[in-house]
């Protein structure tokens, strides 16, 4: 009811005026009836009524809730104060907007990636199970199918277990539409029901679908929309994958983006796997999802699986079969390597937010000092302390609200940019701001407002406040406590800045180190592209070689091409696969000893010279070493150091069980013909022993690498034309320059370094603004004192030194504090560093020098001003 009154108070005021008019006319009429003259009648009526304005006011007050009016008054007053000093207000609001915006964006990411439950049924009970080789570091090793089938049939701790692996196809329509190479996955028939996912259209896979040779496929929503225009008629229809006919049985819902959003379609796990593959205990390439029974503990369930795995390990002592298993929740599995950088960013942003708050608090303390007398007078007139505090907090609330709104707007854009720029953020669910993020932003906003407002408000409205009236400004003694508060705020601010600077410095150094790393081959002007020859058309090694060699010959003949190579991959693209091997000429391994392994790569005879990988000894492949005569292998320098210490490797034989030739399964010995220089499979990782097999043994998939004389991207269209002229149906994918490939693997390192550096620089600016502000304030406070000193004979440079030391003291304290804190803090992200360590002397001295330089600069201006004071004028200052 009182709200109704409050909302209608304008109307009730105008009604009251009408009533008053009525009264006056009635009274005038009565008076006239008593025989007064009209003028006298009106005058008497007015006299009788009294002060109409007062009646209106009292009704207005009666209709207004008093606390509300107080708050409104405070807000209005704060608004006026703020708009009187627009410079200060804009700076403070911009600071808060930046800090809150960054915090909101990062929280959005963290929430989407780490905190929000997965959209699967009862996702808390979903875990990923991996194989684990004891002895090494904890590693999450993909699972061999035979192990999975044993786990599933022999253990009881899980409701069910499902398996999937990455796959890929050439997708064409039944009427020979444009071919497209699509990333896909192959999953066991129970995968979707285990996750609790219903197809949006059609049906799920059934047990009967999951057989070798089955030709059913489920589309993800993205390919359904993009390629099939969202036409539901495709369900039950047919598509071609690698030239084979598949029936579309279902379409997955649009939110389903597991394991990531690149996967376009799903086939069944066994559809394209040979029975031998499925019986392998060393074909590590699959991922196992399991749903825990509600009444079984995870440790118990995993122990059962581990026991089964250990049995397998004992059964196959000579194969790389892991001894143990490890598990992690599906959520954590998806978050994977992102967790650490994300947490780091969030803490960096938290620090920045704190600095922002401290800075706004510091600025408000300064204003509070200027308003000291006003506050004292108001309190002498009877204002309560709570009212005064409320009035001061209103300012910081206004600043933070404006900043928070700006921040939310800012973070809308920033979140989108971050989600796009940050590679390998798990995208199993979309990243967007929602109600709870905005609620958190608001909560942050008000916490910030309280921190920033309460500190100065408490300091200016203390008991000592009345002293401000007693003491003259000349002594300046009442401000000592407040100056101490400002200095300690400043020390904290500088301390946190130092931590951020150290973190940023270390990350930047790591990133620069990563960028200048030599991957071991030519990287400038190199273009790469992938293609896969469909098995139906290119069914023999001869047909595959014919295409590959024809393509190479054409490309090498193109003008502007310095060299062309064909391989399975180039350095810097990632781990891909390894193979276990033994050296035939070496004594057999002891039982239980691990088989050595090395990365497997394929290369054509011209591969090494085109990529500039040096030959150490021996020779490259020849074009004669093909198909059945291809049992030659080239190894890397690291390989020789590791497995042929001091021995000449040329002419020795590698026994590689995983690389039995199709035509001759017993012939698995490869003769080493050459040794080449080391390359990095990924920037930032140690080089690993590598074996190169001849690509002319016949392979369907290949990466074409072209070294050009000029900008390589100009060659992408002509190259694709060359491929199309050889086979118009062949899809080409991932046309990238070598720099793009290496850059992509650095993008996260560069993002972490750039963002943390940005936060650190911003904090540095904030801290120096704070330093400048405090010292300027001190200077004005001490003007008369400085005047007296000068009158007594102090020299200008003495005053300069005095003021400079006064400002530098909190900076030095902060620096020391920050260094101590950063020793502890940087240890946490040690694993993200490359070629540097938490106590890097270059970074530390850089940080110390930067901070001192900025601090001296920030202090110099006010100190200089103080030393230039005219003493007579200073003494006259009141």
């Amino acid at each position: 009811m009182s709200w109704m009154r409050f909302l209608h108070r304008k109307r009730s005021d105008s009604e009251l005026q009408d009533e008053i008019d009525t009264f006056l006319t009635e009274e005038t009429a009565d008076n006239e009836a008593r025989g007064m003259s009209p003028d006298e009648a009106r005058r008497q009526a007015r006299l009788k009524f009294g002060n109409a304005q007062k009646v209106r006011e009292s009704l207005w007050v009666q209709n207004t809730p008093q606390q509300l009016a107080g708050i409104a008054r405070d807000v209005r007053y704060a608004f006026r104060t703020l708009s009187r000093t627009p410079g200060f207000s804009i700076i403070a609001i911009a600071v808060m907007a930046l800090c809150l915006g960054a915090a909101t964006s990062l929280f959005t990411l963290v929430r989407s990636v780490l905190l929000r439950p997965l959209p699967f049924r009862d996702a808390a009970r979903l875990v990923m199970v991996y194989e684990h080789f004891r002895g090494g570091e904890l590693s999450y090793h993909p699972v061999a199918p035979a192990d999975f089938y044993d786990w599933r049939s022999k253990t009881h701790g899980f409701e069910d277990m499902a398996v999937w692996r990455y796959d890929g196809y050439n997708l064409t329509g039944v009427r020979n539409e444009l071919p497209e190479s699509v990333p896909a996955a192959a999953g066991s028939s129970n995968l979707f029901s285990l996750l609790g996912v219903q197809p949006a259209l059609g049906r799920d896979f059934t047990e009967a679908d999951d057989q070798r040779g089955s030709a059913v496929v489920m589309l993800t929503w993205s390919v359904f929309e993009r390629r099939f225009a969202g036409n539901a008629k495709i369900v039950g229809g047919q598509i071609h994958l690698d030239g084979r006919r598949y029936t579309v049985v279902g379409v997955l819902p649009s939110w389903f983006k597991y394991p990531d959003d690149r996967i376009q379609l799903w086939v069944t796990y066994k559809a394209n796997a040979s029975p031998e593959m499925l019986q392998h205990h060393d074909w590590h390439g699959s991922y196992v999802v399991a749903r825990l029974r509600p009444d079984v503990s995870l440790a118990n369930a995993i122990a059962q699986v581990g026991a089964v795995q250990y049995q397998n390990h004992l059964l196959y002592p000579h194969d790389p079969v892991a001894e143990d298993v490890v598990s992690r929740s599906l959520n954590e599995d998806l978050a994977g390597d992102v967790k650490k950088p994300l947490t780091l960013m969030l803490s960096a942003v938290g620090c920045m937010l704190l600095i922002g708050c401290l800075n706004v608090a510091n600025l408000l303390v300064a204003r509070g000092a200027a308003r000291q007398k006003e506050v004292a007078i108001r309190s002498a007139l009877g204002a309560q302390r709570a009212t005064l505090i409320r009035g001061q907090i209103a300012e910081s609330i206004l600043i933070c609200t404006a900043g928070g709104l700006g921040g939310i707007l800012l973070s809308l854009g920033a979140t989108r940019w971050l989600a796009k720029t940050w590679k390998d953020l798990p995208t199993a669910q979309s990243i967007h701001m929602d109600g709870s993020v905005i609620a958190l932003a608001c909560a942050l906003m008000f916490t910030a407002a309280l921190i920033a407002g309460l500190l100065p408000a408490l300091s200016t409205t203390g008991k000592s406040m009345l002293k401000a009236l007693e003491t003259s400004v000349r002594t300046g003694s009442s401000s000592v406590a407040r100056t101490a508060l400002r200095k300690s705020l400043l020390t904290a601010e500088i301390g946190i800045t130092v931590v951020l600077l150290v973190a940023a410095g270390l990350l930047l150094k790591s990133f620069l180190g990563l960028r200048s790393v030599n991957v071991g081959c030519v990287t400038q002007n190199v273009l790469t592209l992938n293609y896969g020859l469909p098995g139906k058309k290119y069914d023999t090694a001869e047909k595959q070689n014919a295409f590959n060699e024809a393509l190479l010959a054409r490309v090498r003949a193109m003008p502007g091409v310095r060299g062309a190579a064909l391989g399975t991959t180039v350095p810097g693209t990632g781990y891909w696969g390894t193979d276990e091997f033994t050296v035939k000429e070496h004594p057999p391994l002891k039982a239980g000893e691990h088989l050595p392994d090395a990365l497997s790569r394929w290369a054509d005879p011209g591969y090494f010279s085109a990529l500039g990988i040096p030959l150490v000894s021996g020779r490259f492949f020849t074009s004669d070493e093909r198909v059945a005569r291809s049992y030659k292998v080239i190894v890397s320098r690291r390989f020789v150091q590791q497995y042929f210490a001091g021995d000449n490797p040329i002419g020795k034989h590698l026994h590689v069980p995983g690389r039995a030739h199709d035509g001759a399964p017993n012939l698995v010995d490869w003769e080493i013909v050459g040794v080449v220089g080391d390359t990095l499979y990924q920037v930032g990782k140690e080089p690993k022993a590598t074996m190169y097999f001849p690509i002319l043994e016949g392979r369907s998939g290949a990466m074409l690498v072209v070294h050009t004389a000029t900008d390589p991207l100009q060659f992408s269209a002509p190259l694709e034309k060359q491929i199309a002229s050889l086979d118009p149906e062949l899809p080409v994918s991932d046309v990238l320059t070598m720099n793009q490939i290496i850059g992509a693997s650095l993008v996260n390192a560069s993002l972490s370094a750039t963002l943390v550096l940005a936060f650190a620089v911003l904090s540095l600016i904030l801290a120096s603004v704070g330093l400048y502000g405090v010292l300027s304030y001190l200077t004005t406070q001490r003007t008369s004192e400085l005047g007296i000193r000068m009158a007594l004979g102090a020299q200008r440079d003495q005053l300069l030194k005095l003021m400079l030391m006064d400002g530098l003291r909190p900076a030095l304290f902060g620096l020391g504090l920050g260094l101590v804190m950063s020793f502890a803090a940087t240890r946490i992200f040690q694993s993200m560093l490359f070629g540097t360590k938490p106590l890097d002397p270059v970074v530390l001295s850089g940080v110390i020098a930067t901070l001192l330089a900025v601090a001296v600069l920030a202090c110099l201006v006010p100190a200089w001003r103080a030393s230039r004071i005219n003493p007579t004028q200073a003494l006259r200052t009141e």
């Binding site: 009811m1 009154r5 009730s12 009604e15 009251l16 009408d18 009533e19 008053i20 009525t22 009264f23 006319t25 009635e26 009274e27 009429a29 009565d30 009788k48 009524f49 009294g50 002060n51 007062k54 009646v55 009292s58 009704l59 009666q62 209709n63």
Partner: protein
Amino acid sequence: MGKSSEPQNEMLKGTLDMMILRTLVGGDAHGHTIAKVIERTSEEILEVEQGSLYPALHRLEDRRWVSSYWGASENNRKAKFYRLTAEGRKQLVRETSRWRQMTRAIGLVMGEEGGAQ
């Protein structure tokens, strides 16, 4: 500011509401009539402060003890008329009985004849 009339005002504060309600028993009336009736009935002893009459009327309306409507006054002028509601009638009974008790009690203390009734 009329400071001298304030004590009287304070004293009347509770009773003004009651008297307004009592006045409206005789029929709907607008502010001027209400003030006039109170003054005349009290034989001009009580003078209604306009500064408290109108806020009081609005307060009574908020509490739903009176309702209001715009109509024409005796002199054919637009005026806001107030009418006693059923709720207001009950309130009047309550207030009247409390008032009676109070005056009787005060009368007893003051040793007046009226208190003994």
